[in-house]
């Protein structure tokens, strides 16, 4: 029983990371029909932004050594700038392009980011020490939980609440939701398309930055492709949850997190190395049962 609770906490924490990353992808998909494969690389940028650019194996902290209240905004700013730049340089000229074109464009943005980091920071993984005090364990009865997991879950809840408030209460939030519902109609009603999209890219950048900070303090290593697996799982999560629905993205994130942790914990030994195969086979199964995802959105239903 203790082991099960322990696994549940692990799953909640991993699911939180996926949910945050999935929200970043879902926000843009809702408005632009853009599946942003570069989102994982925004996460990578957030992590590399912490250190001084050099090809040395030893990473020297730049903004990573600042106190938390300065570090988090600084990391967010770096990723937001990268996200806005990619919108301005790549995605804005492609506003009218088809979904596959946008997707290939986002692959390309991802490759450019990965290789730029490769050239400036070198190819060897770097170790950094961010908030190592979070590794300490907290005891709840017999259950031991690393402080980081509590922080991850807490931060996710706060961010979800803040994002909901932003989307429901502020002018820009309402515009984003209108644009996600029906982009053309929203423009007719006076939503400034590029501004709303810019805000969505910025939000997506902030989410990516938070994910990268949490992820780096967990793993402590930086590589130029570190964001890619996170992006893949998050992307799956948005689809399983219901493409275009933000609630769906969160639900999908937690679903995928639970699947990954529980299969890792309870698959028999001989099959454990095939965990990814089982995770993804389950996802195919979920899609067969609910093709529009767990929480379908009306916006994507084809009207005759």
């Amino acid at each position: 029983m203790v082991a099960f609770i322990q696994n549940c906490v692990d799953a909640l924490s991993l699911g939180s990371l996926y949910a945050l990353a999935a929200l970043g992808i879902g926000l843009l998909f809702g408005m632009l029909r853009l599946i942003n494969f570069a989102h994982g690389d925004f996460i990578t940028i957030g992590a590399f932004g912490l250190i001084v650019p050099s090809r040395n194996d030893m990473a020297i902290m730049a903004i990573g050594s600042l106190p938390v209240v300065l570090l988090v905004p600084a990391a967010c700013a770096i990723v937001v700038i990268a996200a806005l730049l990619s919108d301005r340089l790549v995605f804005r000229p492609l506003r009218t392009a088809s979904a596959p074109t946008l997707m290939v464009a986002s692959f390309s943005v991802g490759y450019i980011i990965q290789n730029t980091i490769l050239v400036t920071y070198g190819a060897r993984p770097k170790t950094i020490d961010l908030w190592s005090s979070l590794g300490e364990q907290l005891h709840f009865g017999a259950v031991r939980v690393p402080r980081l997991e509590v922080v991850t879950i807490g931060v996710t809840l706060v961010l979800l609440a803040a994002l909901t408030a932003f989307l429901k209460r502020t002018r820009y939030g309402v515009q984003i939701r209108a644009a996600a519902e029906d982009f053309l109609m929203a423009r007719y009603l006076g939503v400034r398309a590029n501004l709303a999209i810019g805000v969505a890219f910025a939000l997506s950048g902030i989410l990516a930055a938070v994910v990268s900070l949490l992820f780096v303090s967990e793993t402590g290593t930086l590589t130029n492709v570190m964001g890619v697996p996170l992006m893949l799982y998050a992307f799956i999560a948005t689809v399983v949850g219901g493409m275009g629905s933000l609630v769906g993205a969160v639900v999908g994130g937690y679903t995928v997190g639970f699947l990954a942790v529980m299969l890792q914990a309870y698959l028999p030994d001989g099959l454990r190395s095939f965990r990814d195969a089982f995770v993804f086979a389950t996802i195919v199964f979920v899609l067969l049962l609910r093709p529009a995802g767990i929480i379908p959105t009306k916006a994507l239903v084809q009207r005759v």
Partner: protein, 343 residues
């Protein structure tokens, strides 16, 4: 009589034109008698055949599939099983069935085995999945790619796991690649002019109208999926017999993205686009690869082998060795490090 002749010419000029164009490329390439050009041409032609195979499904059905490269993996490994030295197989691949473990087969057999196996897997996987449309179908195919990769990189007794399989006899030259590319082009042409192809294209343009006009959308999609898998499996088999060395990660995200980019850049809904896109992207890659070695200006060679930043920090000759090559493993299986770290 002229009407029928006209129809016949209409049907044949496009594949004939494309194949002739490729044949001329190969002919010119062979005149130069350079090994590197010959290797480049072979790889391009095999990829071209594969991209045309991908086009048969994606281009005609309008469903973006990320899974087709998985069939290449299946075809390539089946070929390795059928061609490797039995002594090696008995040590490294003990889980193989006897008809594979104790025997080797001459050329067309391994390719047909690979292609048939790929098509069979496509039939089983496609049967339920072809009911899905749009993004759900894309994700299901993507999940298929990950499942195949995960199985082939972990099933040690049959695929040697993550270690490479070496010693597959290599004999594919540009003419072999050309033959494969031309067969793919002809199959694609025949398919898209057939009744099934037309129904599939109708479902791409408007699924509901196509269903209303009695197109059995699932069935025609499945036909395209299996045909595509057969060709791609054959392509994977040839690729194995061209490289001579196999790892499951060759057939993963990197190759998927580059082949999809080739298709999208050429024009996702057209066969000519698939061919032109492959040639164009290959040329870009080759030109950039040429620049990597430096540019000769007035007899002096200008090169920055470690990049601009590399010269500044004096990384020495080791700086280049750890840069991932195409096909190198750039996605390290899943985020297990997150959950495993404290398990």
């Amino acid at each position: 009589m002229t009407g029928r002749l006209r129809q016949w010419i209409d049907a044949i000029w496009l594949p004939a034109f494309l194949c002739a164009g490729l044949a001329i490329c190969v002919g010119i390439g062979q005149l130069v008698e350079s090994d590197s050009i010959s290797v480049m041409l072979t790889e391009m032609l095999i990829r071209l055949g594969v991209v045309v195979g991908i086009y048969i499904f994606i281009g005609n059905s309008g469903i973006m599939s990320f899974g087709q490269i998985g069939f290449m993996c299946i075809g390539a490994y089946a070929t390795a099983w059928a061609t490797l030295d039995p002594n090696w197989k008995q040590i490294m691949l003990q889980g193989l069935p006897y008809f594979l473990k104790d025997a080797t087969y001459p050329f067309p057999v391994p390719m047909l085995m690979g292609a048939t196996l790929a098509a069979a897997v496509a039939l089983v996987f496609g049967f339920p999945v072809m009911r899905l449309s749009g993004i759900a179908a894309s994700i299901a195919t993507f999940a298929f790619l990950v499942v195949i990769n995960s199985v082939y990189s972990n099933w040690d007794s049959v695929t040697a796991g993550t270690s490479s399989i070496v010693g597959i006899p290599t004999f594919i030259n540009p003419w072999g690649g050309l033959a494969f590319a031309c067969v793919s082009i002809v199959v694609a042409c025949v398919f898209q002019r057939s009744q099934i192809g037309l129904m599939l294209r109708a479902s791409r343009d408007d699924e509901i109208a196509a269903r209303a006009s009695a197109a059995a959308v699932e069935r025609v999609r499945l036909t395209a999926f299996v045909t595509s898998a057969f060709l791609i499996g054959a392509g994977g088999s040839l690729y194995a017999q061209f490289l001579g060395i196999l790892t499951a990660d060759t057939f993963f995200m990197g190759l998927t993205f580059i082949t999809l980019a080739m298709l999208v850049i050429g024009g996702i809904g057209s066969l000519t686009g698939a061919v032109v896109g492959t040639v164009a992207v290959t040329l870009i890659i080759e030109i950039l690869r040429g620049l990597e070695g430096g540019v000769v200006v007035a007899g002096a060679r200008l090169a920055l082998p470690a990049g601009v930043a590399g010269n500044r920090s004096r990384c020495g000759h080791g700086a280049y060795s750890d840069i991932p090559r195409p096909g190198a493993r750039w996605w390290r299986g899943g985020p297990s490090s997150v959950s495993l770290a404290r398990a």
